[in-house]
Amino acid sequence: MLQWTTLSLELGLLALALVLFVLDLTRVSRRLITLLAGLGTFALFLFSFTVPSTGTFTQAFILDPFALFLKRIFLLAALLTLMGASTYARVRNYTARMGEFILLVLLATLGAMALVSARDFLTFFVAFELLSLPIYALAAIEKGNPLAPEGALKVFLFGSLSSVALFLGIGLLYAATGTTFWTRIHTVLFPVLFQLGVVLLLVGIGFKIAMFPFYMWVPDTYEAAPTPVVAFLSVAPKAAGIGVLFRLYFEFFSRWQGDLTAWITVLAAVTMIAGNLMALPQKNLKRLLAYSGVAHIGYVLTAVAAGSRFSAAMALFYFVAYLFSNMGAFLAVAALETQGVEPTLEGSRNLIRRSPLLAAAFLVFLLSLGGIPFVLGFWGKLYVFLAAGKAGLWGLVFLGALLAVIALYYYLNVARWMFIVEEGEGSLHIPGSLLAAVGIAAVVVFAGGLVPQWLVVPAVHAVMGF
């Protein structure tokens, strides 16, 4: 007896994507299609609160509160991306390809949603590819931009490489265990193959979440790709990758008597260090946010290293904070770009005069990313540290806190250009849809910082299934 309701969110999204794709072939205006896409995504987000939160569809696909929580994150990421995309497309002259754009974003979202529900390696791989392939195309969608092919090629090459590593890893794991179902592993026949497989698996996921040392493609691609795409790219695949990592941790690795904590601890530390240090000298806002994103993955990996149910919940919460702060920041950059402003530190000079609302929102995002109290990001960091402390990883906590101070330097440096440097003329008129997206994100970051428990408690409930 197949529980089709378990798939209802995925099926709904697929239907939405296909209907909009067909509509795009007719004479319906692109604006209407974008609007429908946004409304549809939002409707699915609301719908996600009514679907039964547990169920399986064969043994390969599971719906549990953990997956559902992440799926909501993906839907919100897609929604914010779509809100930012239409104006951006108009300014950058690719409105004609908005239909494809929407289709690709929705399919990537679908891939991410399937990925966090996967419970066997074949589903996992298919979902992984479904998440990856649209992103290659999205990175190149802005044909007129001379940088675009390079950025797209980089993400494509690295992405393919990660797929290869993943596939090889899966093969080895199959050879070692004789099954692709995570829950059916009883004996490991060839421990060496198994370990090699696990390493390759980590490599494959590492590319996706931009973990050290697989983050080299990130800054170039982020710089070249259209900013709303980057906003999506900086959150959804990373959340999906971390979600999979947690599921593997609890359902797969736990059946094998090995211990990944030491590895992940080192990776988390190195990722934090690399991301934060590389972000320091950046002058391009998109590159800066790219490296800061790497650093944030380091913080989330700290929670992965802690490897407890509590830490999984805290990682979920961290991603909520990161979703709104980071996407907000990227959308604010997109807003600048629509006004012909270069996305650099210099370009953002005196933003407080030129567009006070955008500047205030940007400050909120920066503070949240930097982890200053009373905004959402602070709680994210605090909870992750708390989870790591509970697991006894005080070294990581200390390193993370220390690096957070370094991180504040480059975040505040952005604030300095926006608020303190005074030359810079011409007021900006930020288009409404972008301003709305930025505003919503800012309000969530700010209000969530005052009542974090409204988000923490659902996150804690979401991991009860493990």
Binding site: I352, L367, I372, P373, F374, F378, L382, F385, L386, G389, K390, W394, V397, F398, A401, L402, A404, V405, L408, Y409, L412, R416, F419, I420, P452, Q453, V456, V457, V460
Partner: protein, 509 residues
Amino acid sequence: MVFWGNLLNWVIWVPIVAAFVLLLIPEQRTRFQGWAVLAVTLVEFFLSTALLRAFPRAGYAFTLDLSWIPPLGAGYRIGVDGLSVLLIVLTTLLTFLGAVYSREVIRKHVRTYWIALLLLEGLLIGVFAARDLLLFFLFWEAMLLPMFLLIGIWGHERRLYAAFKFFLYTMAGSVFLLAGVLYLGLKAGTFDLDALRGVAQNLPLHVQTLLFLGFMIAFAIKVPVVPFHTWLPDAHVEAPTVGSVLLAGVLLKMGTYGMLRFAIPFFPSVAVRQASLWMALGVAGILYGAWMSWVQKDMKRLIAYSSVAHMGFILLGMFSFTVYGLSGGMLQMLNHGISTGALFFSVGMLYERRHSRLMEAFGGVAREMPVFATILGIVAMSSLGLPGLNGFVGEFLSLLGAFQRSHLLGALGVAGVIFAAVYLLHMLRQVLFLTPHQPREPLMDLNPREFFVFLPLLILIFWIGVYPRPFLRVLDAPVAEIQRVIRPHLSTSLQTRVQEPQHTPEVYP
């Protein structure tokens, strides 16, 4: 409703809410904004003085205990004791005077300035009112941002360097604090101060030592205790006048306040073991600060280093753990805020007139600005500890306490008083009396607005100097509380020495 009926709660949130309301007022209407801020800060001052009526008494008043983040055990817990309430009133007073002063002085980004000032005020009060370790940490961190903006936007030439240095230095200290806060919170399952106290004292000694050092490093950077002081001269010199006033007057006290409220009561046995170390660092601060002040040409830098010296007295008194030392240290926290605040206002007014902070740019000010010269003289005397003025009382009691513990440290501390006289008189001579080398255009004496800024400070200088008893009585309970916590950990010989005196000291009945 508990939340709305709590006076302390109002005192914390009125300025913060006012800061957000200010966003609604159009940017160009600077006059209206100025009056509005003045009104808010004045109301705020009176609200905070109303807190005083609950004292002296033991324990905490105006307490509020609401659950905030239940899974974490963090609550919205506030309440004040005598020490907090004095510091809160100091904050509101200095902010009000700062608002009076700034109205005519700040020309650019006026609205943003007021917002930063009001936010700073509210968050500072929050720091002193928090009865929950996590809440305290939140206020402690959040307070950095408005101060960063105050220094960075309205400061002098090297303001950005100073702002970043201030921010990153303090944040670096907070890392240790954060680690300690999290560790304690995890151990106790709550962040309630009273509960934490019991948990902290039962930890193994080496853990206690580590945590104590973690807390103390964060607080010592804020005070600043000598090896951690390098951010202070830059921040003070580059900050706008009101920034310096609040920085010296209130922010530095957050460090010593944190020691008294958290580090010492949480880890009394470690505090007792390390008392000599911290007293020695206090003396180092007194001497080093005084010597550095002596050679400065820039008045703001001179006062900045004098702050290092004065905070050394507080540290010296506190860590003697005697009744005299503790009450002297606490009173000195208030005194330093008043005197140094007034000194920074004076330098600011001189700067407004001649756009220089160098002493050699002035001379003969006494003839041109007699009223100002008189005030500056009184303020400087209060700062160097002339008997009859407020500085004397605090320093005298601190030193008395220090002598009870260690004659050597006490004696070295007394030497600091003499050095203070040297550098402050040196400044007075240069600025007020020497005839300038070349004739300069004459300076206007104080206008009524500027005089009004000094007036309350002068009243307090004389009041505390002549009749400190009401202030000391408010501090009685906090002093007794620290003593109660500390006493079991002192060796018996020390217990007799730091014991409550049989008769109250004759100097201050």
